[in-house]
């Protein structure tokens, strides 16, 4: 956690620098009232102060038992998380290409088969029933037009 706090402190300092710079360039108010940059500017300043406190206190802190534990998990779970994120990104990217039905079906199959290594039987059962249930709920019950592909479904 100590290492994490040090890195977070630096990242937040950089972020606050960006915010302050952006806020500084925002046009001032025409009257004497605070303008658009007022709140972001002060938020940036406060963030910089907090980030410094975080960094300095982490720097001075004795390493505890918790610090020796690695912050992020080993390769195997990290791969699982990465796969879920890649799958989700793919799902979002392709939803207007494949259409809702195909895309959702493929996404569930991906999650259950590639990420979780489930049996085909359970995978297909969940994928078909969940896709159908969601489609019926949103498209028909809630009357929302879900994305369709070039073939119209």
């Amino acid at each position: 956690m100590k290492e994490g706090d040090l890195i977070t402190g630096i990242v937040l300092l950089v972020l606050s620098g960006y915010v302050i710079q952006e806020a500084w360039q925002m046009p001032p108010s025409a009257t004497f009232a605070p303008g658009s940059g007022f709140l972001p500017f002060w938020l940036g300043v406060i963030l910089a102060v907090f980030a410094t406190i975080l960094f300095v206190s982490a720097w001075h802190r004795q390493a505890t038992e918790k610090d020796s534990k690695p912050l992020f998990p080993g390769k195997q779970p990290l791969l699982g998380i990465a796969l879920v994120l890649v799958g989700l990104a793919g799902y979002i990217l392709l939803i207007e290409v494949f259409g809702y039905l195909v895309d959702t079906f493929l996404f569930i199959v991906f999650l259950m088969k590639v990420v979780e290594h489930e049996k085909w039987q359970l995978t297909l059962m969940v994928a078909v029933s969940a896709t159908a249930a969601l489609f019926i709920t949103f498209q028909f019950l809630l009357q929302i037009k879900l994305p369709s592909n070039m073939f119209g479904f």
Binding site: P34, P77, I92, T137
Partner: protein
């Protein structure tokens, strides 16, 4: 008899077939979410926002509140039967509940959990009915300085009371306020932090952010540390669920102490149901004549935390409805949902939308009756749900979330917001940054900025305006005390230590 008339109005609203149906659906989903480990009420409520988007505000919030207090009931089932908290507020129920189950007394433990929940939950709603209206009418003459002081106080209280890392909570709140700044400034029309994206002109969507921070990041954490699933083979006949006379006698004190503690601590912004059940259990152990029995299957060890977490769910409605300040993640998301439905939570809500407020309160009386039925005679069904593998839940939660987000605006960009905040939420969990302050900050961010700038315009730029007006003065002072309380605590400790040395 204003109160009486208002309650009648409330029941009139809550008893429409639509509201009864959705109250039932809400508590049903709540119980399910409570029973299933790895998905909490905050996630459940976040996922429900898009689904309830098309409903009236009253029906939508009735459903979400049902999920919130329903989860408090459901959580105990998992704690008692498989020694795993169904959601965080039922962690304490595990200690004695599971021991009772091991001794063959799963029935009375489950029964007492459900009945304690009902008694304390109903008690809390009665208290809410009496306490909320005068509080709201006191706070009715609010101008911009009062609103700023109030939102400022809400942010600092949620940050300091919510956890043991106030600095990280403050940073989380600041980041949330910055996210709220994204988009066109409502006063001057200047585009801020939009990165030239048309999609960001309207600001960052609350729904995508809430679902990302809670639902998606929860899934990522659970993939990292898979939930171990254990099944229970407890035989549960309806008759076996009723605690005997002795159980009632043992639990009587725990029930009323748990209810009172849960309600009053629950009304403090930032406290949350989990904290209340911890305190109630600790107090019960302290006052008990046989503290050694706690942890070995004492029924009062089930009654106290279960009563407290349900009373807290009712107590949390007090600051939410009267001041617009949530007490934790779940109520912060509900606050966001209220705003989406065009309601401005705060002292005026009681006078401008009485049918909403009283309809919600009345629905909670009805929902608690549903819940005791769902959790006593139908307990066997929920036990079966424990057999659903979490692996199946992951694709379901993700697809429901993504579909719901798309559905609110027919916009794929909002799904990317969910994706982004899912990742941010995961990193925040790993680094111990609490998410509720960030969500609250986004929800009330615009109100904070508007009221701050309007106040400073009124006062020609002097911040004394927040101190000289009586109500805003009091609120600002409370906020400042809360803001600096971590420092005060450190200073106090040093003082005591130095005295001890001398």
């Amino acid at each position: 008899m204003d109160l009486f008339n208002n309650l009648i109005l409330g029941f009139h609203v809550a008893a429409s077939w639509e509201n009864i149906l959705f109250c039932f659906i809400g508590v049903l989903i709540g119980t399910l979410i409570g029973v299933l480990p790895g998905i909490g009420p905050t996630t459940g409520i976040a996922i429900l926002i898009p689904v309830t988007y098309g409903m009236s505000a009253t029906t939508a919030i009735i459903t979400m509140a049902g999920v919130y207090y329903g989860a408090m009931y459901g959580g105990s089932t998992t704690s008692i039967l498989i020694n795993l908290p169904g959601e965080s507020a039922s962690v304490m129920t595990m200690l004695d509940g599971y021991q009772m189950a091991r001794k063959g007394r799963a029935g009375p433990a489950l029964g007492m959990a459900a009945l304690a929940s009902f008694i304390a939950g109903t008690f809390a709603i009665i208290m809410l009915t009496f306490i909320a209206p005068p509080l709201a009418s006191y706070a009715i003459s609010f101008g911009p300085p009062e609103y700023f002081a109030l939102t400022f106080m809400g942010l600092t209280l949620v940050s300091t009371l919510g956890g043991d890392k106030p600095l990280k909570a403050y940073i989380s709140a600041i980041l949330g306020l910055l996210v709220a700044c994204v988009g066109i400034d409502a006063i001057s029309g200047v585009a801020r932090f939009t990165f030239q994206s048309v999609n960001l002109l309207d600001g960052v969507g609350f729904i995508g952010m809430a679902i990302g921070l809670f639902a998606v990041s929860e899934i990522l954490v659970n993939i990292e540390e898979p939930i171990k699933q254990v099944f229970s083979d407890a035989k549960l006949g309806f008759r076996s669920l009723f605690p005997n006379l002795r159980d009632w006698k043992d639990s009587f004190g725990a029930l009323w102490r748990g209810s009172l503690l849960g309600f009053f601590i629950g009304t403090l912004p930032g406290s949350g149901a989990t904290l209340c059940s911890f305190i109630a259990y600790a107090v019960e152990k302290r006052v008990s004549k046989h503290p050694e029995k706690f942890g070995t299957g004492a029924i009062e060890g089930v009654a106290a935390p279960e009563g407290a977490n349900n009373a807290a769910a009712g107590g949390a409605m007090v600051p939410l409805l009267t001041l617009g300040i949530p007490s934790g993640g779940a109520t912060a998301v509900m606050l966001g949902a209220l705003m989406i439905h065009g309601l401005r939570p705060g002292p005026l809500l009681f006078s401008t939308n009485p049918q909403f407020v009283w309809g919600l309160i009345a629905s909670m009386y009805i929902g608690n009756v549903f819940l005791v039925i769902l959790n006593m005679p139908l307990i066997g069904i929920w036990v079966k749900f424990l057999k659903i593998p979490y692996k199946v839940l992951i694709p379901l939660i993700l697809t429901i979330s993504a579909t719901g987000i798309y559905a609110t605006d027919n916009n794929v960009f909002d799904m990317w917001i969910m994706f982004f905040f899912g990742l941010v939420g995961y990193v925040m969990r790993k680094l111990d940054f609490p998410a509720p302050p960030m969500v609250l900050a986004l929800v009330i961010g615009r109100l904070v900025e508007m009221s701050l700038r309007q106040s400073l315009t009124i006062s020609h730029g002097s911040i004394s305006i927040f101190f000289t007006r009586p109500i805003s003065g009091v609120l600002t002072v409370i906020a400042l005390i809360s803001l600096f309380s971590p420092l005060l605590r450190v200073a106090w400790r040093k003082l005591v230590m130095s005295k001890l040395k001398v």
